[in-house]
């Protein structure tokens, strides 16, 4: 498989990011019943699924839901028509799984942001005493969904921008914009909460300010 090549050799051969992250052969093998191949897909896409879920469900639920997503995907692999779209397809299943989680677990009561943050703090504390991570996670979750998801994939999962684009099916341009604007917003919010001070910090209002006609 191409991904088994060292990264520097792949670049020397001039392959695009999309080619480097093409897992069609693995998907084909998994679809034919190869469990090891599906395990490899889990290794490659598990972080993406976790990041997507982390943006939407309590931290303590993420671990199990990651596996649920893959268990949902496995019997449906034969419905995937374009094998190179596996990442985008899996990302949709993960988002739907998060929807289902909320539908099934809190049908009547909306979990407000304060409660969610408190719950996350407790859950993080249960795994490893880390209130700092819980606080920052809560701030990221308050950002618009597209920024939140992309930032979590970058900052929690350690994925690079090109990798996020290739894995999720988003365009590199939009991932870069999400990272840039999301980080600006995050800096602004962290300054407000006293977590950091930064000259590049901005506020949601200044980002959303409309341009005038013809302005580039």
């Amino acid at each position: 498989l191409n991904d088994s090549l060292p990264l520097d050799r792949q670049n020397v051969r001039g392959r695009s990011d999309a080619d480097r992250f093409d897992d069609s052969a693995l998907v084909r093998a998994a679809r034919a019943g190869d469990r090891a191949a599906f395990g490899q897909l889990y290794d490659r896409y598990g972080r993406m699924v976790q990041g997507i879920l982390l943006a939407r469900v309590p931290l303590g639920e993420v671990d199990d839901l990651v596996q649920d997503v893959f268990l949902r995907a496995l019997p449906r692999l034969h419905t995937l028509r374009e094998l190179d779209r596996f990442g985008g397809w899996l990302a949709t299943i993960a988002r739907n799984c998060a929807c289902d989680y909320h539908r099934n677990s809190v049908p009547e009561v909306e979990l407000n942001a304060d409660l969610a943050e408190k719950a996350d703090r407790q859950l993080v504390a249960g795994r490893a005493p880390d209130p700092e991570a819980a606080s920052i996670l809560a701030v990221i979750r308050s950002l618009p969904e597209a920024y939140c998801e992309t930032l979590l994939l970058r900052l929690v999962e350690g994925m690079t921008g090109p990798e996020i684009a290739a894995r999720t099916g988003l365009t590199p341009g939009s991932v870069r914009v999400n990272l840039h604007r999301g980080m600006q917003l995050l800096r602004g919010k962290l300054v407000l909460t006293g977590s950091v001070t930064h000259e590049n910090a901005t506020t949601p209002d200044s980002l959303g300010k409309p341009n005038t006609l013809g302005e580039k």
């Binding site: 496995l74 739907n96 490893a128 880390d130 996670l137 005038t212």
Partner: protein, 350 residues
């Protein structure tokens, strides 16, 4: 400061990004891949079949299983046709055909219509698909059974759909457009004239009549006109001036001057978020006006690499699709995938 480090870890490290990576990286789960069941056991098609299984006893057993499975499928098909979807009354007494639906619930069969009057409302639930709340004064007909594609026709009234099936599975026809669920939840209304309104609350929905398409993400709405299809979607928090201008542009009674004025207002008032509206306008305005829409949209959301002004002005679908993806409102591939599957499905039925 350059964002190269944020982008791909190259360039001069950004100390704040490094700190965030360090703190948040502790949340990363490192659980190894579990042992998954074999795909065959989960229902995928296996190509591994050996003649050693073809012993006489096995053949007989296999035949019995096949016959049982065939009978089961036949029974399921008959059950689908006969009993269909589960319906429960929420208020009042909804009707399925001439039958009243009481508190104990009822079934909505293929071809049948669920009708609520001014005092009744109902709920339809399909375990694998989702839940549909049916408001008063609504008429909803089943066009295919739950096992056959989940297609309904909303003839009038209002439904609230919350769908957890995969995108593209749940489809609602209206007199003015076909609504295709591409995400989670939406409200669809059709008035007596056949005009409609869709409001998406989660995920996104595709709206289509002929070649005219509209994509409505969460927080957005779109009007449809009977026999003319979807108009231009807009975010419900869009500036009042933009929404008024959009209505003016869509009105068949507006003069050319009024439309031009409305377009100038709309372009001037649009925010980055209103790229949704501008992207749709590209294929809705006449060619001479398309350049102004392109310029405004490009100033708000730069076109991705390879998407050119010339290509957009001639409505190159590939370029339009790539620009849509750059808006991050939904992956266009899901829609194209559904379109292709649906087209094949409809051709197969002819």
């Amino acid at each position: 400061m350059s964002d190269d480090y944020l982008w791909d870890g190259s360039g001069k490290p950004d100390p704040e990004v490094e700190k965030l990576e360090s703190v948040l990286g502790r949340l990363r789960l490192e659980r190894p891949a579990p042992v998954f069941p074999a795909a065959e056991a989960m229902g995928a098609h296996s190509t591994r079949f050996s003649v050693r299984w073809l012993r006489p006893g096995m053949v007989a057993a296999f035949a019995v299983v096949l016959i049982a499975a065939g009978l089961g499928l036949l029974w399921r098909w008959q059950t689908d046709v006969a009993s269909g979807w589960d319906v429960t009354s929420v208020t009042g007494v909804p009707r399925v055909g001439k039958q009243s639906v009481g508190s104990e619930g009822g079934r909505l069969g293929l071809g049948q219509a669920l009708e609520t009057d001014g005092n009744s409302s109902a709920e339809i639930r399909i375990e694998e698909i989702g839940k549909i709340q049916v408001d008063p004064d609504t008429r909803l007909r089943v066009l295919s059974s739950p096992s056959g594609g989940s297609r309904l026709a909303l003839e009038r009234g209002t439904i609230h759909a919350r769908i957890w099936a995969l995108p593209g599975i749940f489809v609602v026809d209206t007199p003015s457009a076909r609504a295709v669920d591409l995400g989670c939840a939406y409200t669809l209304h059709v008035d007596d004239s056949g005009d409609g309104l869709i409001r998406t609350t989660m995920g996104w929905v595709g709206f289509k009549l002929g070649d005219r398409e509209a994509f409505i993400p969460a927080g957005a709405a779109c009007v449809t006109r009977a026999k003319n299809g979807p108009r231009t979607p807009y975010f419900e928090d869009a500036p009042e001036g933009l929404r008024t201008a959009l209505t003016k542009m869509d009105l068949p009674t507006s003069t050319e001057d009024e439309r031009n004025t409305a377009l100038r207002t709309l372009l001037a008032e649009s925010r980055p978020r209103d790229a949704l509206t501008l992207w749709h306008l590209l294929s809705r305005v006449e060619e001479p006006k398309r350049g102004a829409v392109f310029d405004r949209l490009a100033s708000l959301v730069p076109p991705p690499t390879g998407v050119t002004r010339e290509g957009i002005l001639r409505l190159d679908r590939g370029m339009l699709d790539r620009w849509w993806d750059a808006l991050d409102l939904g992956n266009i591939w899901l829609w194209r995938h559904w379109e292709r599957s649906w087209s094949e499905h409809e051709q197969g039925q002819k």
